[in-house]
């Protein structure tokens, strides 16, 4: 039985980066916040690039609690969508070029979102990763954590529940 030849590295990278870029750049709010994603294989890390407009307390100064919440929520939604479409764009069932042209899959909807503020966000870049603790057909549970200097000292963590998009059905 002939083993399938692995795809050339550039093809694999190009497809995955294009899929991620389509997913992220399609959402205006992510651009507005200055959030980007680093990718290693299927693992994503959200990066919040520091900007003065993210400040919530000018006296300290500290990042706005709402910014921290939003950053965790963006990381959770993108990580969840990413894992939801991964198989489909890897297999070719989902056309990456069509995605890039704006034909994006429907995004999960946030049901609820809880943030714990552990320490104040410093005026510098922040990073976040999400873990999908349950990915059901209708509901998903996601945890996310954000840190700055030291990953073992997160400044915020979140738990969220999402309603998954149903193929070809409006789930409003």
């Amino acid at each position: 039985m002939a083993r399938k030849t692995p795809e050339p590295v550039q093809i694999v990278k190009q497809r995955r980066d294009a899929a991620l870029d389509a997913l992220v750049s399609g959402v205006p709010y992510i651009t507005f916040m200055g959030i980007s994603f680093d990718r290693r294989g299927d693992e994503l890390t959200g990066v919040l690039s520091y900007d003065e407009k993210l400040i919530g307390n000018p006296m300290l100064p500290a990042i706005h609690g709402g910014v921290t919440a939003a950053f965790l929520e963006v990381t959770a939604v993108i990580s969840l969508s990413w894992s939801y479409i991964w198989e489909d764009f890897e297999s070719g069932a989902l056309d990456v070029e069509a995605m890039a042209a704006g034909n994006l899959p429907r995004l999960p909807k946030t049901i609820d979102f809880t943030v714990d503020y552990l320490r104040s966000g410093l005026p510098r870049d922040a990073y976040a990763r999400a873990t999908i603790t349950r990915a059901g057909r209708r509901y998903a549970s996601v945890q996310a954590e954000a840190w700055q200097d030291n990953k073992d000292r997160p400044f915020a963590q979140a738990t969220a529940h999402f309603l998954m998009p149903r193929p070809d059905v409006s789930n409003d």
Partner: protein
């Protein structure tokens, strides 16, 4: 006395860079109650297909409004920080409509303020989101 406190809280909120970036305006503030409006802006869209505002922008509005309610409470001497915040998204906000959050401090101790908040668009009978949070009471 309380009017001064409301004035100080209003000035502080209006100086927050992120509140300005999201176009937030204080509708009313005083005695542990705050109301803040955030206009619809295409830059805040979270779902390009439906053009609905991202939940993150609603979170930022709820957090700011909760903090404002604590700052103007007669028993809170100065600043505050969010300890935790839970937001329930009841429905998608209607694209094109401003979102108004209303927060109230329903209990306050020497160190913690408990806050409830609601966010509505033009249809004020059906909230877009509700939130509950705990905030620190600082400076005493």
């Amino acid at each position: 006395m309380s009017a001064d406190k409301a004035k100080i809280a209003r000035q502080f909120i209006e100086l927050i860079p992120h509140a300005k970036a999201l176009g937030m305006k204080i509708v009313s503030i005083g005695d542990g109650l705050a109301e803040i409006i955030m206009p619809y802006d295409e830059r805040f869209i979270g779902d390009p297909k439906t053009r609905v505002i991202h939940g993150g922008a609603v979170s930022a509005l709820m957090d700011t409004c909760g903090g404002a309610a604590v700052m103007c409470h007669p028993d809170a001497p100065a600043g505050t920080a969010t300890i935790d915040l839970r937001i329930d998204y009841m429905r998608a906000a209607t694209p094109g409509q401003a979102i108004t959050a209303r927060a109230e401090v329903y209990h306050i101790t020497r160190s913690v303020a408990f806050v409830r908040a609601t966010a509505c668009d033009d249809d004020t009978d059906r909230p877009v989101a509700t939130a509950t949070g705990a905030f620190t009471v600082e400076g005493r």
